[in-house]
Every structure is written in structure tokens, then in C-alpha cells.
């Protein structure tokens, strides 16, 4: 089981996350001889308070990934209210891009994280396939996936 250890900085546990065009659309582009937008790596906050993972709309735009779904969202603790948010089909890889990268298909919510230096949130839809060890005294988080 691969594992990654990150320092818990001022923004919290932030990790590299590879984001790529969804598998189905990528296959269609390739079949038509169209160049697939290259995958990108962004800083992602491990956010156990999020039901779903989030990617900043600009990153999705950069990849040419459009909205193909809609959900209702709100922040934890909010009562009653919600707002719609778009959902897009992508592939993700924890730890960023490297030879032999293993991609997983995911539907991500296209909204902006509140931390300016972070462009994605890794929510519990992804974390449910991982083991986390939060070492507070050493300010380290180890993620196994």
C-alpha cells in the first residue's frame, strides 16, 4: 500500500493531487485524433469535513472539462440553506504525477476552495479508500492508499 507523508503547515495537511480529463472523454478525444489536454498537479487540502472532493473551476477550465452534473451543497453546520454546484468527470491521482501513476475516476465539485493557496479539496469520497495517520506532535500526516 503506497503511503505519503506530508507536513501539516499553516493551511493544514496539503498534498499534491494530479487531475486529468475524465477517462471516457479522453478516450473520445484520442479516437478523433484530438490532443488530450495534459494532466496537471495542484495543491489539495485533505478535508475530512467534505463529503465530496472539490477542484477549482479554473483547473477544470484549463483541462477543458465541462460540467456534466449538479448537486446541492452547503457548509458543515449550516442549517436549511443550500446552493447548487456543478459536478465534472475527471481522473485523480494522490501524490501528483509520476511514472506509473494510477488514476481513479471521480466526480468532483467545481467550486473554489476558501484557502487561496489550495486548488482542490480531497473529501471523504476519496478518503474512504485511504488510511490516515495524523501525528499532531510531529505535525505530520501520513496517507496510505
Amino acid at each position: 500500500m503506497p503511503h505519503i507523508t506530508v507536513i501539516i503547515g499553516a493551511d493544514g495537511p496539503v498534498i499534491d493531487l494530479g487531475v486529468a480529463v475524465g477517462r471516457s472523454w479522453q478516450r473520445r478525444l484520442a479516437a478523433q485524433g484530438i490532443v488530450v489536454p495534459p494532466a496537471t498537479t495542484v495543491r489539495a487540502l485533505i478535508d475530512t469535513g467534505s463529503d465530496l472532493s472539490v477542484v477549482h473551476p479554473h483547473v477544470l477550465h484549463q483541462l477543458g472539462v465541462q460540467a456534466t452534473g449538479s448537486i446541492r451543497i452547503r457548509r458543515p453546520g449550516a442549517t436549511g440553506g443550500f446552493r447548487p454546484a456543478s459536478v465534472s468527470q475527471v481522473q485523480l491521482t494522490i501524490g501528483g504525477l509520476s511514472p506509473g501513476t494510477q488514476w481513479v475516476s471521480a466526480q468532483v465539485v467545481g467550486v473554489a476552495p476558501s484557502t487561496p493557496t489550495v486548488f482542490a479539496l480531497i473529501g471523504r469520497d476519496v478518503l474512504e479508500h485511504c488510511t490516515l495517520f495524523y501525528n499532531g506532535p510531529r505535525r505530520e500526516l501520513t496517507l496510505s492508499h
Partner: protein, 95 residues
Amino acid sequence: MTTKSRPTQARKDEAKASTSPFPLTQELKTYEAHLAGWADRQGQFVVIRGRDILGFYPCHDDALEAGYDHFGSGPFLVKQILAHEPIYQLGQIEL
């Protein structure tokens, strides 16, 4: 899939100004206008573009493929027909 890049803060700020907060407003209106009449289609997935309803599908992947076939990369709406739609909680986001 080998290029590594990081969006800059300037590009992120630019995106805030240029990115529509929700690109499926009309599609969602179309969905909500028809929802009451789809009681017999609970659990199925509908594909909508603007005011046009493409069809109903048994699973998300089939609906997504149909959407790509007809509308290209999108945007279009693939939505599971549910009388009671869940509300998802997202932690560190701008609302």
C-alpha cells in the same frame, strides 16, 4: 498526461472573475419543471441540455456517454431523478 503545472494566484483571481459560478442554471430549471411528472422514473438518470431532454438511462455511465455522443464535452446535465435530493456538505469552500 505528463505535464506538471501549478495555477498561479493571479490566474486563480482571474478565474474568480471570469468563471460562471453555476453553468447549468437552465438545465436545472428544466429538470425541476419536469420532476413532478417523473415519479415513475425514480432512480433513473436523465440527460438535459438547455430545455431539451435527451433521454432516460438506467445508470450514470450510460447517461454520460449519451450526453457526450450528442452534446460533445458539455456542459450538459446528467441527473438522477430523486424526489428528495441529498444536500452534500463541503468544508473549506467559498460560498
